[in-house]
């Protein structure tokens, strides 16, 4: 039995480190193992160095560091299975949530928003990141890893952007635009040109690229062009201004017919309240108290904003909508026996604070017109 000196043990220990074994516990294992082999198999008067160099080659195929690589691989393998399970479970979960959410949304039942938010959140924050982590391990080349990363990022951004869009949260359009831009101008070109070079992946790459491009194109078809959006805003603002003019001239005509404003004080109060709310909404939307006729040039039009955005800063204005609703009910009740009276019939949702600004403005103008018409009828019947 060969007896190893401390110097020789140090030599082996250094050599193991030099050969790329960095894990301390693995170094200890291998050192003891090599020493055992030498002690058992080398004769007392054998050549240590020569024997060591030939003995160590039995430990590996290419180099010693492969033992450490394999160890790390096995240690992460355990996580791999757990991650795979979580990925599959989260995929099934988000699919289920989205399915229920969409059904609830179309049936206009409560709970749709919660389901959709949870579904997209699980999809984009659990499923997609895990999919990426697992896919990256399978990829050999750095380029493929980058492609997987960019693709996942765009996918997460896209799904979150669409979620923001349906929830009317800010930043949705920007997120979708950036995601589509990444897919079309970064991901697709790299993916396509990397894939078609390899004969094995050529067909798959072409098919996937076409599908992806078609998907992006279909999304873009659904999106209204900026020009179309402007046209729409201009039309609505014009519509609002026309209504305003009609209300004003009706009021002037009425004032000419009768100089007694006390004939319908409650009607005037309603009209005034409508004006106050309209002024608030117009100012919040455009920054101006009144919209000019040349609004198109100034870009101060009424867009598609939900009034909800503005109430949070001015709860007293939101309160006015409720007051108005009550005033209208009282008004209808008070005049129901008046000859030729036409009650202001409003759907329960007409003054809903969750409506869009432009819908509310329209409804408020119509309330004012109906009040004015009742006053005219009253005058005519006298």
């Amino acid at each position: 039995m060969y007896h190893l000196t401390d110097t020789q043990i140090d030599f082996i220990s250094d050599d193991l480190r030099a050969r790329g074994v960095a894990m301390v516990s693995l170094q200890q294992d291998l050192l003891d193992h090599v020493c055992c082999v030498i002690e058992r198999e080398l004769d007392d008067d054998g050549d240590f160095e020569q024997f060591y160099q030939s003995a160590i080659t039995r430990f590996y195929k290419k180099d010693l560091a492969e033992i450490e690589t394999e160890t790390i691989h096995l240690l992460t393998h355990k996580n791999y299975y757990v991650m795979k399970k979580i990925m599959l479970a989260s995929g099934a979960m988000s699919t289920g949530l989205l399915l229920i959410g969409i059904v609830l949304k179309f049936l206009h039942l409560p709970g749709a928003a919660v389901m959709l938010v949870l579904g997209v959140a699980v999809l984009s924050l659990v499923f997609l990141p895990l999919l990426f982590t697992l896919k990256v391990k399978e990829q050999q080349h750095a380029k493929d890893k980058v492609v997987a990363g960019v693709g996942t990022f765009a996918g997460i951004l896209m799904s979150l952007g669409i979620l923001f869009k349906v929830m009317h949260w800010p930043g949705a359009n920007m997120m979708c635009a950036v995601a589509l831009g990444i897919v079309l101008f970064v991901f697709l070109p790299i993916y396509f040109f990397a894939g078609i070079r390899n004969p094995q992946t050529k067909v798959n790459t072409v098919v996937s690229s076409v599908l992806l491009f078609a998907g992006c194109a279909l999304v873009l078809i659904l999106v209204r062009a900026p020009g179309g959006t402007k046209k729409d805003y201009v039309a609505y603002t014009d519509y609002f201004l026309r209504n305003e003019r009609i209300v004003q001239s009706e009021a002037q005509l009425l004032a000419q017919m009768s100089s007694d404003p006390s004939t319908q004080a409650d009607g005037l109060a309603i009209s005034q309240l409508c004006d106050e709310i309209k002024t608030f909404l117009v100012e919040s939307e455009t920054g101006l108290k009144r919209i000019d006729r040349d609004f198109e040039k100034n870009g101060t039009w009424i867009s598609e904003t939900y009034a909800q955005v503005y109430w949070s800063d001015a709860p007293e204005q939101a309160q006015k909508l409720q007051t108005l609703q009550k005033q209208i009910e009282r008004y209808n009740q008070a005049h129901k026996n008046t000859v030729n009276f036409d009650p202001i019939a409003l759907a329960p949702t007409a003054l809903d604070p969750h409506e869009r600004v432009r819908t509310l403005l329209n409804n408020l103008s119509q309330v004012q017109l109906m009040v004015l018409q009742n006053q005219r009828r009253l005058l005519a019947s006298r």
Partner: protein, 113 residues
């Protein structure tokens, strides 16, 4: 005949756990014991043994104790309570697998069995 490492790979955890049943052992000892018991047919390589031992330790199936042998450290591996219960499961799984293989590959039992 020495079995190929591909063949041994899937059963290595079971083999190692079984050796540790009732006694603590260090790496070299495990390879020697398996070699002796199988008449040199199964030679566990260092490249396969240590990653497996570390994985078993990470799974909590084996525990380690260290002892100084002169200048070097010797690590003794022994079964944890969890490892003890796992052996039976692993062995019966392997036995089942062997039966399936016998059927699948149409292996006739050797003479005298």
């Amino acid at each position: 005949m020495i079995y190929s490492s591909e063949l041994i790979k899937g059963t290595l955890k079971t083999i190692v756990l079984k050796q540790l049943e009732g006694q603590r052992m260090y790496g070299y000892e495990i390879t020697q014991r398996v070699k002796e018991l199988t008449g040199n047919k199964i030679q566990i390589t260092e490249g396969a043994l240590y990653p497996t031992l570390h994985a078993l330790e990470a799974d909590g199936l084996v525990t380690t104790e260290t002892e100084f042998i002169g200048k070097r450290i010797r690590k003794y591996y022994s079964l944890s309570p969890k490892g003890k219960t796992k052996i039976e499961e692993k062995v019966s799984e392997l036995a089942d697998f062997i039966q399936t293989m016998q059927f699948l590959l149409d292996i006739k039992p050797a003479m005298g069995q």
